[in-house]
Amino acid sequence: MTLLLLENVTASYGKAQALFDVNLNLKEGELMALMGRNGMGKSTTVKVIMRMLRGTGNLLFEGRDIMGLPSHRVAQMGLGLVPEGRRCFRDLTVAENLSASARLGYWSLPRIFELFPRLGERQVQVADSLSGGEQQMLSIGRALMTNPRLLILDEATEGLAPIVRQEIWVAIGKLKAETGIAILLIDKSIKELREICDSATLIERGKTVWTGSMKSLDSQTLDRYVGVS
């Protein structure tokens, strides 16, 4: 069953149009990679989905039109965002970051600390004093604490040491195996995306140019639209 549907979505930053025709169909429990070169509209698409940027076209979550809703309503319906640049609340402690927007459900502080033991050890530390990797874990934990149906990860492994990236990938793998949550992933690590994702949607110049299962994504297409195969 379709969880998130985008049809003919457009969006602009002031007068500069960034999205021209984005189409995306993500099913329940599916892990989808949103791919494309830098500046092609991946993060902009996420902003429109999260209602942080105004857009036009059809935007449906669980069959309901969410294009006119404010950001917080969309989040309450079950979209959890791990934004580009992590954006932890820097003056708040780890525990406060996690509980600020928590909603009842499967995810609770003990479960987050089980997934990311490092966060458990730093509960009373302020987010500003954490390493980049820990902040990324905090940002993921914070989104999970809202108990979303769909988790959106925007560049969750960017700028991290290889060993920390591995930890993040392991955690995403666990999420997939243990909870059945749907995930929309933006990442530069093509190899990991290939291994973990069920499907892919490719964007170029603000348009969806390819969509299908990850298995059917051939290296020619990948090379043409993402630049690496």
Partner: protein
């Protein structure tokens, strides 16, 4: 003879100590009321980035609400409740009608719009209540003085004001640091877009914060209105002091507002009394008095300047 002399000296020392202690209490009382006023201002500035010149008008609204409620019900306690809730409600409506359109605008627009609110509130109040000051009487039981140790006589009501202010400080500290709402307020201060994207209704949160600030300003207006008088324009001098307080304390910091308010209250009160006396020690009486009181009225601004030179972000402000 010798014994009598030493008694006079000792009594004299006690007298001047009692006078000093009384002035310290006065300073504390005015400082704590400044805190109740400034807490809302610093919260609104710190959380929403809004300069609210109309905060003094909410102080006035509280005082008038209290005077009207006291005249109607005869109860001072109900008058205080009316001040708090009346100002909070007015604050809530003003936030929803006007203020929320200003968050994304620059400070000049905010200053202009909230200055317009001052004019509207002042003329509106004049229209309904007239230009003559109203009086809000403190109940007789707490109006008189009480004897404190070492011969200090001090009005009960002013001690109650200090108590109420301390309770407000404690309550605010608990709200901001211990409750989930407080966590969300602080999160919103760090990244407003992000807290909304996690499902927190930021505009309801802002309305709430504004209403709390407005309610506290109203409470301060009523408490002080009972000592002074309730009249149009009573909020603006306090507003200026409150801005001095939050600049000294560091914008957005409740702790800073508390320390800053006490500092300003003590400096203003003690300076006004003791500076002329100090000058009399080494110059002629009338010159000392005029020079001393002239300098005393500048003292808090000198304090602010000194603190800003040493710590440009204020005592508890965050740099950058």
């Amino acid at each position: 003879m010798g014994a009598a002399n030493s008694c006079t000296q000792t009594c004299g020392v006690f007298m001047s100590f009692a006078l000093f202690a009384e002035q310290v209490l006065n300073g504390l009382q005015s400082g704590i009321m400044l805190f109740v006023m400034a807490a809302g201002l610093t919260l609104i500035f710190g959380v929403m980035g809004l300069i609210n010149l109309a905060h003094g008008s909410l102080y006035m609204v509280g005082a008038f609400a209290a005077a009207a409620a006291a005249a109607w019900t005869g109860s001072f306690l109900l008058a205080l409740v009316a001040a708090l809730t009346g100002a909070a409600l007015v604050g809530m409506f003003v936030e929803m009608l006007v203020i929320r359109r200003l968050y994304d605008r620059d400070h000049l627009d905010q200053v202009l719009a909230t200055f317009a609110l001052i004019l509207i509130f002042s003329e509106g109040t004049r229209f309904f209540f007239g230009s003559f000051p109203l009086f809000l009487d403190v109940p007789k039981v707490i109006a008189g003085p009480i004897n404190l140790p070492i011969g200090i006589e001090y009005p009960v009501y002013r001690l109650i004001i200090i108590g109420v202010g301390l309770c407000v400080a404690l309550g605010l500290w608990l709200l901001i640091s211990k409750t989930r709402l407080g966590v969300q307020i602080r999160a919103g201060k760090n990244d407003r877009e992000m807290i909304a994207a996690l499902g927190v209704n930021i505009s309801a949160l802002y309305t709430f914060v504004f209403a709390i600030g407005a309610g506290l300003a109203g409470l301060a207006g009523a408490l002080v209105g009972a000592i002074q008088s309730v009249q149009v324009g009573m909020g603006e001098p306090v507003l200026i002091l409150a801005f001095v307080v939050i600049v000294i304390g560091g914008i957005g910091s409740i702790k800073g507002a508390f320390i800053g308010a006490i500092l300003v209250g003590l400096t203003d009160t003690l300076g006004g009394i003791f500076l002329p006396e100090l000058f009399k020690l080494f110059m002629e009486g009338s010159i000392a008095t005029s020079l001393g009181s002239a300098l005393a009225s500048m003292l808090i601004y000198i304090l602010m300047a000194v603190i800003l030179v040493c710590r440009p972000q204020g005592l508890f402000g965050v740099q950058g």
